[in-house]
Symmetry: C2
Subunit: 430 residues, 2 copies
């Protein structure tokens, strides 16, 4: 009996059928019922019978034959999608010992856990990390970018990155700057673990795979667009933000509509035969075009790690900024159009004089900074602060890390759009 | 010729009529035209004739008689509204020397600049500060709370606080915790200065005055509800956030509808005769009831200033938190349900062991923190972090400053609702 197997579970008065999910303990099984619910089963109290080997649920739709869960057949008529797992809820199951969720799947497990992915593509699976994304680090962004490049070189027609939701926006930004990809790179995750009836993992994974098969070359985040199970939104990696702690539609494109919307039902149906589900995607803006077949990704993964993001709040202790001395770059999350208390301006001036690139963003999140309007802002410009337009603070931090390592003039780069992070100038007043 | 006077300006080929606004230079005048536009007039190039003294535009609607702009008559039939100015765009005009906006009005000037306030109330004016709100400090929050208490003791039926928009949410939070007021306290500001055709200052001021006359005792922020000039939203001071750098409807109640909506046209009409415009306000939830006539405000303005708000981001230098040692309180803006990198947890444990109250909020902004779900979160709880529910990070900072100075158990207080900042517990998964 292996994860992915179709099983019948008999617990005396109740008998259920479903697919066995990976589980961390030997005393419990987790079974995904046909109705969508997952149940935890105490082995001691149930009879479990394997009805069918799970192998055929994870291949390209053809019969796997061998019955080995790890054996995946290749179907020439299907596109190849690479699933890269970094951890997070989408790659986890319930840890029955503690009652909570830990990261413990590899990409193949994810496939087994989401039988709905069957028939849509040939899958390549790869684990870059197995962490909750609060533990994500810039070094792993680099490994991830390299893994994506590898997968593209190996023939992937699109890449799906399974990632914890907490810091997905930072990782998606990092890959947006590091990679010039000829194929879609689609981040997805899950706000609710697979054992909950309200889990979003199946729909997010299916939409992400369909978005990765589609005709574009964007680096995207694909997550629920609404609280219902009707559509996923495709957000540009550099413009997206997790704006709710727990809602399935937590991710939003800040200051505008998402780049596109995937109609779930249409995508799930069209894609299940291995077809492209392009018609199920409605683009709000023209996406970047796919590169030629076989084209490689361009990669520039260097990062200057000595970059900090600091937030200004009224009454803050100026000593908070002492540790910034000597840093390569600092992104400030100022107030409104991009302000800090006047008393902090000389400190910024000293940082700039010392060679630190200091960029201004706004804790408002939406809208552009514009320091030409108020005295305090003009003093900041005089001090040498560079304005990051409407770049999100978190994205600006990642961008400055990248720009310091990869451009000749990072201060200049912060005022220009490199990867969709900075939208065209508009009137700050409109 | 004084601010508030009705003037005719003759510039050769163009003749305009309007109301003279205060202006900082002797070489230029600013005139609010009847169409709503403000124009700057070079004195050397224009003939200006006073048509009418401005005094009658700033009184309670009765004829001022004397013609002195500073003389304001009292009408017994009208409620008394106290206008307290702290500065910001709403209290500023164009500084022609620099081309930008500086804070330079007192409350009486504001009255003159907004003739539409005439007839709605008897006004008391008071200047607590004259600063852009990025320069706001906790000491001024205290002065402001004391000024509001004074005004209520002196008979104000409602208080309007004119404030810069940048840090209005922090000041409104501070007053929410410090003051137990029997009458409305309504913050308002302006995203666009009075010299711009798109200025929001008149509508915001009129709606704020009408909201301050209305039948409740909430501490509110009153700003444009939409991009049109049709309605203002009334946000609870502890739940509001400036979510756009420049839009007039930048302020939003995070995670829900505003407490109420003021229909501008209805409020402007009903209130102009000195009547209460209550019918023009639609409450989404029941507001706190007005206290008895003549009731005083309760005041508790002590603040522990040694409280910091810090934001966690991937790749941050742990040295950023060195300066927190020995602080009375720390609010963390974590990721998702309330997380930080595992490596930072021992530092938090050490802070708590040392007596620092450490509260967790989320950079998602909407939704509750819940550290019982993931390993990393449970480790945080074990380290002694207190969860601030769905309290906004900025509000949580102000609350912790207040709770440390005014409650016996600040850690406990952070988990309870004190002033509408923490909404009732809901399923973190829903
Ligand atoms: N804290 C988790 C939540 C999730 O998996 O989505 C993480 O970001 O990894
Ligand atoms: N920066 C200004 C903007 C405004 O007046 O609204 C302030 O907050 O004071």
């Amino acid at each position: 009996m292996q994860p992915g197997d179709r099983v019948r579970v008999d617990r005396g008065d109740v008998t259920n059928e479903g697919v066995l999910l990976p589980s961390t303990t030997h005393d419990h099984l987790v079974v995904k019922l046909d109705g969508g619910y997952n149940v935890g089963v105490d082995r001691a109290e149930a009879d479990v019978e394997v009805l069918e080997s799970g192998a055929r649920d994870v291949d390209g739709g053809a019969d796997a034959g061998g019955g080995e869960a790890s054996e995946i057949t290749f179907d020439e008529d299907l596109p190849t999608i690479s699933l890269i797992s970094t951890g997070g809820t989408i790659a986890s199951t319930v840890d029955y010992r503690t009652g909570a969720v830990t990261a413990q799947f590899d990409a193949e497990d994810v496939l087994r856990a989401v039988p709905d992915l069957a028939g849509r593509a040939n899958y390549r699976g790869r684990v870059v990390a197995n962490i909750l994304s609060e533990n994500m680090e810039p070094a792993i962004w680099r490994e991830l970018a390299e893994a994506v490049e590898d997968e593209i070189a190996a023939g992937a027609d699109g890449v799906v990155v399974m990632h914890g939701t907490d810091t997905m926006q930072y990782s998606a930004s990092a890959l947006s700057f590091m990679l010039d990809s000829p194929v879609p790179v689609v981040f997805t995750g899950s706000q609710r673990s697979a054992d909950r009836p309200s889990s979003d993992n199946v729909m997010n994974a299916v939409c992400a795979v369909e978005a990765a098969k589609a005709d574009h070359a964007e680096t995207l985040v694909c997550m629920h667009a609404t609280q219902s199970d009707d559509a996923c939104a495709l957000h540009r990696g550099t413009r997206v933000r997790k704006n709710h702690t727990s809602r399935r539609d937590a991710f939003e494109t800040v200051g505008g509509a998402p780049l596109g919307i995937v109609d779930y039902e249409a995508a799930a149906e069209a894609g299940a035969d291995g077809d492209a589900a392009d018609a199920a995607i409605e683009w709000n803006r023209e996406p970047l075009p796919r590169g030629e077949a076989g084209a490689d990704a361009d990669l520039a993964t260097d990062l200057e790690s000595d970059v900090e993001l600091v937030k200004f709040t009224p009454g803050m202790d100026p000593a908070a900024w002492d540790y910034l001395d000597g840093k390569a770059g600092v992104v400030i999350e100022g107030t409104g159009l991009g302000h800090v208390h006047t008393d902090l301006i000389p400190r910024i001036e000293a940082l700039v004089a010392d060679g630190t690139v200091v960029a201004m963003t706004s804790q408002c999140l939406a809208g552009r900074v514009c320091d030409r309007v108020y005295d305090t802002g003009r003093d900041l410009l005089d001090a040498g602060v560079v304005e990051a337009g409407d770049t999100l603070p978190g994205t600006a931090k990642v961008k400055l890390m990248w720009a310091l390592a990869n451009t000749g003039d990072a201060a200049d780069a912060m005022g220009r759009d490199l990867a969709g992070e900075l939208t065209a100038e508009s009137q700050p007043w409109r």
